[in-house]
Symmetry: C2
């Protein structure tokens, strides 16, 4: 197996997409699939898929295709989805509520332990089965529950200070919706910065340039 | 200038990020920047930046750096941000409301014309300055206003039928939050599928593989 640290970001970003598509195929009763058919299903090329899977040592038998169930299990392990990571969410505005109401954290490998806000009108209220806690208790909570990740849905202006604070308390990863690019690499803490503006600008470009394919 | 149809998706996806970072530098009073300093600011390499910009014919003078204001203007043109594209939003649940309440559509190149839902409890209500319209009037609205894009924040199960419908009515691009991968390439309609589960799974992987850098 290749050293994982050498695997490119592009490959890593495709792993969840493979996992998601394979789950769908499995739900449709597909037990085995060739790289050609999987490629067709996903809008990739077969050689791209073989190349990606080779980063993790293969998974398939030449000419025999992939066992869908085994591949799902392999991807679950590689992605760390079975490790029961834990998370907290900070900031219960519209976006925080949208995630609490609709997003399946467990399906992405995280048990959401608690949610925090500073607004007295929100503290104690229930969103998606989570009672909003006072952010004043955040330090105690992190020290007693050791959440792996923090989901930052607070306002942009408070993002850098909050990120620094939770990382100092021991949080090991950030899923950042604040619009502020956060960099915690120096501290060994990965950050996934979600920029919805970038995503919509990409569509803007694509509408004006008709030959560009869709993005997954 | 290179034929735009040959520009890779990776480059296109970096364009909004260049634009966003340059806007920030401009706001900080930076007038000129070398590819080395811009690279440092963005966590890229200088040669990557020069390579990306070369896809669009350069922008810089050897050894003299980039004029920030001119570069912003070039990127605005390339991204199509100045073309006043129009959009509608379909589905005013939590996620739709989060976008209506917080998201700056204009900054990503779109004028949001109207929002639609089918729930009688929502029709007529105001979210972020937009009065929810009955989805029954969608066909008439598209035919009279010709929105360029539709933002799909309705439920996943209704996504494929709605996508097909609005594209048949003339919508030219989809920003899709439904979780369903939509493919309209055959009809020449670009789709940006936003998969937040993929994004969180990526963080899950990164927490378990410490050598991986952050993603922007």
């Amino acid at each position: 197996m290749t050293n994982k640290s050498e695997i490119s970001k592009a490959v890593i970003q495709r792993l969840p997409r493979y996992y998601r598509n394979l789950l769908e195929l499995h739900a449709q009763g597909v037990e085995r699939i060739s790289s050609r058919l999987l490629a067709e299903h996903m809008g990739l090329t077969a050689s791209q898929i073989r190349q990606d899977f080779n980063c993790f040592g293969g998974f398939g038998q030449q000419g025999y295709g992939y066992n869908v169930e085994k591949l799902i299990a392999e991807l679950r392990t590689i992605l760390g989805l079975a490790q029961a990571h834990t998370a907290i969410l900070i900031g219960v505005g519209n976006l925080g509520r949208a995630l609490l109401g609709n997003f399946d954290f467990a399906a992405s490998g995280f048990d959401l332990l608690s949610v925090f806000d500073c607004a007295p009108t929100l503290i104690g209220k229930d969103f998606g089965g989570h009672i909003v806690q006072d952010v004043d208790g955040l330090c105690d909570f992190i020290q007693s529950h050791h959440p792996d990740a923090a989901i930052l849905t607070l306002s942009r202006m408070h993002a850098p200070a909050m990120a620094k604070y939770v990382v100092e308390q021991g949080v090991r990863g950030l899923w950042n919706f604040t619009g502020e690019d956060l960099h915690m690499e120096g501290l060994g803490v990965p950050v996934v910065n979600v920029h919805l503006t970038d995503s919509l600008m990409t569509l803007c470009y694509m509408i004006g340039n008709e030959k560009v394919d869709s993005f997954l």
